[in-house]
């Protein structure tokens, strides 16, 4: 029974496949795997917009949306109808083709990333041999979409936003990849399925999640910081800071294209959260051996929702960074820490298992952290800033 | 025509287009892009020979392609930096107008 519930989607797919003639089976299989993703994650997007507005409201002692439906639950539907019925305005001087393609490319790239996410046991669209690499490769296409949107709008704000976004995404892609390298070193595989399977083992009822190791904690924190920056979320939302450049690269978009940008951004956030779960939080595995009775996909989505809540919480707490703070943070703190973390992971790999290993690695992680933070703090002096590149 | 020959022809065409672009375009950045395309054509050859070669279980072809991509990335970075420096000096990226060595 538990098995059936765990594999309910896989069984349903096989049952449906039984009615399909064999020449069509590969195609049907692909379609049947893709459709749930195309339904589940946009639905999650709808729920998240509501959750985010409610959560931010409560953090600011407001009520949040409460008019459409019970407690504003129908708000996403209202938003969808509004954006679908709005006029699609394209600037006269815009590059029409590129302007049209940019949101499509963004959403397609965001959806592609889901093909390597193991949502549950045996529930992955493509078990690629180099799945993590695929994820980051697809993630880098987003930059191109952002540039296309910013450039083709023929607007200064959108171009500035695109430039900021690309500079930020490139800067934070390096620590993002470096932070995930530690997991790849430990797992010895780039396949997301295998990484999760290695974490889904239990000793004394506790799972082998990588976050329970010193380098795992640091790696997870660095990864989440970089993921926040990659998905342009607060406090790294400079590319779309409302008070500075209004909406950034998608300022000239309206109607459905704007909704697509919104969707693409949230999908990107879910995808990076999903890969963080896969790499550090054990993917679909239960947090305790006793809890494996709960279906695996429920665990995945529970973890995803928890990370989304963390994102919302951070958005409600931290103010936006300045551009130079953003860049300095990436290159002076996160990048060195990611490199040190890789070294610690190597040490972990070659030491005998036990409490000593844990303590040594924890010390190796903590010491540079404290030293680097102290160094960076001491360097901070109030002075007239000089700009090397901006005349 | 065997699949290998098709791949090689494709790469030859890519190389020729890249070469034509590098030789004829006036924008320095696009010349650099033409050179990148020629490098890519070479990469296609490596992969094609590896795939249709006698020993596809060996990693030689793939290694070659990976190193080539790495070198190409370095080349692009330095090349674009040089173009930027040249632009700052002569205020143009038009190769036909950059005809003086005097600094």
């Amino acid at each position: 029974m538990i098995q059936t519930l765990d594999q309910v989607f896989v069984i349903a797919k096989h049952w449906l496949m039984g009615y399909v003639p064999s020449p069509l089976q590969p195609l049907t299989s692909a379609v049947l795997s893709i459709i749930p993703i195309l339904i589940a994650f946009p639905l999650l997007f709808a729920i998240t917009t509501w959750l985010e507005r409610k959560g931010l409201g409560r953090i600011q002692n407001r009520l949040g949306p409460n008019r459409a439906g019970f407690n504003g639950l129908m708000q996403p539907i209202a938003d969808a109808i509004k954006s679908l019925t709005k006029e699609d305005v394209v600037p006269l001087t815009a590059d029409h083709i590129v302007h049209f393609l940019a949101p499509l490319l963004l959403v397609v790239a965001a959806f592609l990333a889901y093909s390597v996410l193991p949502v549950g046991r045996n529930m992955v669209l493509a078990n690629l041999n180099s799945g993590v690499l695929f994820f980051f490769a697809v993630g880098s296409v987003v930059e191109l979409a952002v540039f296309m949107a910013g450039w083709s709008s023929r607007s200064k704000y959108s171009l500035l936003g695109a430039m900021r976004a690309i500079a930020q995404m490139i800067s934070y892609e390096v620590p993002l990849v470096l932070a995930s390298v530690v997991v790849i070193m430990q797992a010895g595989s780039l396949s997301t399925v295998e990484i999760v399977e290695q974490q889904a083992q239990y000793t004394h009822g506790l799972p082998h999640w990588y976050i329970f190791t010193p380098w795992g904690i640091l790696g997870f924190i660095l990864f989440m910081i970089a993921a926040t920056a990659e998905s342009n979320r607060s406090p790294f939302d400079l590319p779309e800071g409302e008070s500075e450049i209004i909406a950034g690269y998608y300022i000239e978009y309206s109607g459905f294209k704007f909704a697509l940008f919104f969707l693409g951004e949230y999908l990107g956030m879910f995808a990076t959260s999903g890969i963080a779960i896969t790499l550090f939080l054990g993917g679909w595995s239960a947090p305790l051996a006793a809890l494996t009775v709960v279906p695996s996909w429920i665990w995945f989505f529970a973890k995803l929702l928890a990370l989304i809540f963390a994102f919302i919480w951070i958005r409600g707490t931290l103010p936006r960074l300045r551009m130079d703070q953003l860049m300095n943070f990436a290159w002076e703190f996160i990048l060195p820490m990611a490199l040190i973390n890789m070294f610690v992971a190597g040490v972990w790999r070659f030491m005998a298992p036990g409490i000593v290993r844990w303590l040594v690695c924890a010390a190796l992680v903590l010491a540079p952290c404290v030293v680097l933070a102290a160094l960076l703090k001491r360097k901070k002096k109030l002075q007239l800033r000089t700009y090397s590149f901006a005349e | 025509m065997t699949p290998l020959q098709a791949c090689l022809l494709l790469s030859a065409l890519l190389f020729a287009i890249g070469l034509a672009g590098a030789l004829t375009r006036r924008n320095a950045i696009l010349v650099l892009i033409g050179i990148e395309l020629m490098l890519n054509a070479a990469n296609i050859n490596f992969i094609a020979f590896w795939h249709y070669g006698p020993q596809p279980s060996q990693t030689t072809g793939i290694m070659f392609a990976i190193f080539s991509i790495g070198v190409a990335a370095a080349e692009a970075a330095v090349g674009l930096a040089i173009i930027l420096a040249a632009y700052r000096h002569s205020r143009t990226t038009d190769l036909d107008k950059m005809n003086s060595l005097k600094g």
Partner: protein, 166 residues
Amino acid sequence: MTLTFLIIAFLIVAGTAAAMGFRNPIHCVLALTVSFAGIAALYLELGAQFVGFTQIMVYVGAVAILAVFAIMMTHRPGDPETRIFSRNAFVGVFTAAAVFAVIGWAILKQPATSAATQPASVSVQQIGASLMHDYVLPLEIVGLLLTAALIGAVVIAMDRKEDNAK
């Protein structure tokens, strides 16, 4: 020659031709990304998964963006793009055509060898192992080269204030 190959080949050739032929440099780079993506697809088609993803990551994610940035920094809105091809473009096109003719002739002249038909696939583990064992020296050299290129690019492109003052 399968249909997939034909589609990919069309994508690559069309993208490349557009990249070399468009008037607007930004359009050229965007067409170029199509070509790069097509090449990545060709690698996947040929079973070189790792190289294909690396291709997308390096070329689409980095080189194209870099080129776009360079164009934006050097392109002035007032620039009259009168002629995009150089004065003696004919010579260049002729050279390229000649090169293609010679290479194509050589390829087609080659007797069709019966290639090994076993499915080519190399796992990431194998690639990693050979990178760390057989090819560790080239790997180090490439790493050094990339570091040097990074520093060099920054140094070359940096606008030195004292130079400006002169």
